[in-house]
């Protein structure tokens, strides 16, 4: 990755290069160390389990979707809508007495529909991804409010639906919680797609230089459609997990993922010498954000200050990585 082209690099330069490439990893470890010392509860099993299941899993799946989109040179501002659509349809179907498998399937299809809409706007109408998905974001938000008489949450804590939710969020296989298993499956699939498959090569080429992808005879519109549909599907999975975890559908709750997922993906690009989004980088970005949020909470910072902490953190990672890389060149 960052094999030094200059074989005569000095020791200091080598160390600088190492820090630049692994600034995310180093920052992550440093922050973990800091919180472990500042708060006795940070390193406990219960806390780490909580961070993983409640903060990491859902954000990571959305961020994986965005990683594909950003790799293709685009952006999806409507990830929250995909999350919410899956969640809304799933919960409404359970409330109407439909089966869990049916609810999950149709919920995911609702998310896919959002992706299809994005794909049509971007590949057929040639609207830029930013504007297309921004439009879908607005439409999706209104749709939810119209469908829930102005944004009324739907709670299904007990009874039939509660059991269905528990079957998703509270079961485990060989001691591993179901949401974590879902995340692992998503990681494996997205990793293979993005870094090992023909589709992934096309995505990287479109992101690096769309003209070259087109002039190489790649079916750019079709591949781009798959990118946005794939992202929406991943968001839909998060939507299902979200409903099952909180046993309800709260309109517009998906938006909370958008900025964190974008942040995680871009923090992750510092891992790659070419500044490309990678699955591993994105996951590290997600871990970093989740740990900082949790740690700040544990040492008694309130919610509003957490945002400041995360902002500073993003600058820190980027500054260290960019600064050292420039110094090296």
């Amino acid at each position: 990755m960052s094999v030094s082209q200059d074989t005569r690099a000095t020791g200091a330069q080598k160390i600088g290069g190492f820090i630049a490439s692994y600034s995310v990893v180093i920052t992550f470890l440093a922050i973990c160390l800091f919180f472990a010392m500042a708060s006795p509860t940070f390193l406990t099993g219960a806390n780490l389990y909580n961070v993983l299941v409640n903060n990491v899993v859902m954000l990571a799946i959305v961020a994986l979707g965005l990683t594909i989109v950003i790799s293709s040179g685009g952006i999806d501002l409507s990830v929250g809508v995909s999350v919410d659509m899956a969640s809304m349809v799933f919960v409404m179907l359970l409330a109407a007495g439909y089966g869990g498998v049916f609810g999950v399937t149709v919920g995911l299809l609702a998310a896919v529909a959002v992706g299809v809409l994005n794909a049509i706007l971007i590949t057929r109408l040639k609207i830029s991804p930013f504007l297309a998905t921004l439009g879908v974001l607005f439409i999706g938000q209104s749709t939810q409010q119209l469908a829930t008489s102005g944004g009324q949450p739907i709670y299904l804590i007990t009874g039939y639906a509660g059991a269905q939710f528990n079957a998703i969020a509270r079961t485990s296989l060989l001691g591993v919680p179901m949401p974590v298993l879902v995340l692992v499956a998503c990681i494996v699939v997205v990793y293979l797609l993005l870094h090992r498959s023909v589709f992934g090569r096309a995505v990287q080429a479109m992101g690096a230089q769309p003209g070259v992808a087109w002039y190489s005879g790649l079916a750019v519109p079709r591949q781009l459609s798959l990118v946005y549909i794939g992202c929406a599907l991943l968001c839909g999975i998060t939507g299902i997990l979200l409903s099952a975890t909180v046993k309800s559908y709260v309109p517009l709750s998906g938006n909370a993922f958008l900025l964190d997922a974008i942040g995680a993906t871009f923090i992750g690009t510092t891992l790659s010498a070419e500044r490309r989004p990678t699955v591993i980088g994105t996951l590290l970005g997600v871990l970093l954000l989740a740990v900082v949020k949790n740690g700040l909470l544990l040492i008694g910072w309130n919610f509003y200050w957490q945002q400041v902490g995360i902002g500073v953190l993003v600058f820190l990672v980027l500054a260290v990585s960019f600064g050292l890389r420039r110094a090296r060149q």
């Binding site: 082209q5 589709f199 090569r201 080429a205 230089q209 003209g211 087109w214 190489s216 005879g217 790649l218």
Partner: protein, 510 residues
């Protein structure tokens, strides 16, 4: 042969200008003397150094050596803004006006009228209207935006801007490329009037007829230097063309002997309104066919249709006897057509991807199973191609950005070798490539032809066309105006046919 103006009349004097880009000597001891009150033509083939010397004058490029005087004063290092202060103005080929500005804003750009830090759009529009009326008798709707003007009107607005700044020298780079005949005539009338007012006009054009019609003097450039300045009224066009073309082709173009086989690419009656009509030709197995034409002649558009980038309205394209429906490059590539585009960085190679990712991009199907790339297979093929084309790269995973222009071009070619394409379309493959790499690319073309590929080479480098091709087709104003091969294939004839000068073929078709 050279006509020298008297010292007192000289507006621009450039002496012994040299400029080197890496291994390429773009300008070598080039001189240009332009007198006041004349229209001075500047001609030469692509790469002869015309645009480099103009960029030096514009302060865009810094010469390695040489002196420049403007109106008798020796000037130091030029910058685009200091040149304008000296009264030298440039009308570049691509329109360089802000499309959403009003005419007044465009005319007074960087010299805005108004009060203190506030600009007065109204007074600028009024003054601009007065200038346009006074100089060109042109009245435009009040407050019209630049983007709503015709190309000719935009040129006039640019000239007006120069006049508003009291220009003493006006440089026009290919100003007629996108104009229709009537507009060309009115532009020429404007230029003649400016000349009569004592302004020195430098006029760069590929169209020999225009040079003959308009210019009082013409400087011919070749291989980075001026080879003479003549009066076009006294010197026949043929002689000027002969000056533009170097006679010694030398060892640049390797000889080859290839068996030419059955037709591989057949194009019949291809047409697209406004670009070209009734284009029919074929390229056979093992044959290298050249295609040339000036900017706007339609040659470029023909090639784009052959690769599915544009859609022809009429006619058909066949590869190995199979008619292709080319609605996108996807179909072209599937049909066995490869394209080496002119804009290498936008369309040829992705500089932020590795050599490996670039080479296998069009042929991933060959290196994959069930949708996944088989890295072993891919690596083996890529390493083979790197060796075969002697691509100078530290390794297959090096980013293409780190390679030289010539090696980037080889990566772009390797992409199609990997794809085992049968028809190769090359669009100006040796532009911005140094001489050594050029020869390697020519060798490669010969080898491809030898292996039975059909090659269509779009080029404006006449030497290259003569040296490499078996046959050259010339496009003039949207139609095939000539076909040259064997003893008929020489630079003079190509240039005459593509610039509409009285050539045997051009006369027959017009």
């Amino acid at each position: 042969m050279t006509v020298q103006p008297a010292a007192a009349e000289i507006a621009i004097s450039m002496t012994a200008i040299s400029k080197r880009f890496g291994p390429v000597q773009a300008l070598h001891d080039a001189d240009l003397q332009v007198a006041r009150g004349t229209i001075h033509g500047l001609v030469g083939q692509n790469g002869a150094g015309k645009s480099t010397i103009i960029k030096v004058l514009a302060g865009i490029l810094k010469p390695d050596s040489g002196t420049i005087t403007v109106n008798g004063e020796t000037v130091g290092p030029l910058t685009p803004s200091s040149v304008e202060r000296l009264g030298v103005h440039f009308i570049h080929q691509d329109r360089l006006l802000v499309p959403t500005a009003t005419v007044g804003e465009a005319v007074f750009l960087r010299h805005e009228l108004g009060f203190g830090p506030f600009v007065s759009r109204r007074s600028m529009n009024r003054h601009a209207a007065e200038l346009l009326k006074r100089y060109f008798n042109l009245e435009l709707p009040a407050g019209i935006l630049v983007q709503d003007l015709t190309t000719a009107q935009q040129k006039i607005v640019q000239i007006t801007r120069a006049l508003a700044q009291k220009a003493s020298v006006l440089v026009l780079d290919e100003p007629t490329a996108a104009l229709v005949k009537r507009e060309v005539d009115s532009l020429f009338a404007v230029l003649r009037r400016l000349r009569d007012d004592g302004i020195a006009v430098i006029f760069i054009s590929h169209y020999m007829q225009e040079i003959e019609q308009l210019c009082d003097r013409v400087t011919v450039m070749r291989n980075g230097t001026d080879v003479g300045t003549v009066d076009p009224a006294e010197t026949p066009i043929d002689e000027i063309i002969a000056m533009m073309i170097a006679r010694d082709v030398g060892e640049m173009f390797p000889k080859r002997s290839v068996e030419i086989g059955a037709p591989m690419l057949e194009v019949s009656h291809l047409g697209m309104a406004g670009s070209f009509e009734d284009i029919s030709f074929s390229v056979r197995r093992g044959e290298i066919v050249g295609l040339t034409g000036l900017l706007g002649s339609g040659a470029k558009e023909i090639v784009q249709c052959l690769f599915g980038l544009e859609r022809a309205e009429r006619g058909s394209i066949m590869v190995e006897g199979k008619t292709l429906s080319l609605s996108s490059p996807v179909h072209a590539v599937r049909g066995g057509i490869a394209m080496l585009p002119e804009d290498r960085r936008a369309h040829g190679v992705a500089i932020d991807l590795s050599v490996r990712e670039n080479i296998s991009l069009a042929s991933l199907g060959r290196y994959s199973g069930r949708g996944f790339v088989k890295r072993g297979l891919e690596n083996q093929a890529i390493d083979g191609l790197i060796r075969e084309l002697s691509i100078k790269t530290p390794g297959r995973d090096t980013l293409v950005r780190q390679l030289s222009g010539g090696n980037q071009q080889k990566v772009a070619i390797a992409k199609w070798l990997s794809c085992q394409s049968r028809v190769y379309i090359l669009d100006e493959p040796t532009v911005a490539v140094d001489v050594g790499a050029k020869v390697e690319i020519y060798n490669l073309l010969n080898r491809l032809a030898g292996e039975g590929a059909a090659i269509l080479l779009l080029s404006s480098d006449l030497l290259e066309l003569v040296g490499v091709c078996d046959r050259v087709l010339v496009v003039y104003r949207g139609r095939l105006s000539g076909e040259f091969s064997g003893a008929d294939l020489d630079g003079d004839r190509l240039l005459a046919a593509s610039s509409g000068a009285r050539g045997p073929k051009a006369e027959a078709s017009s």
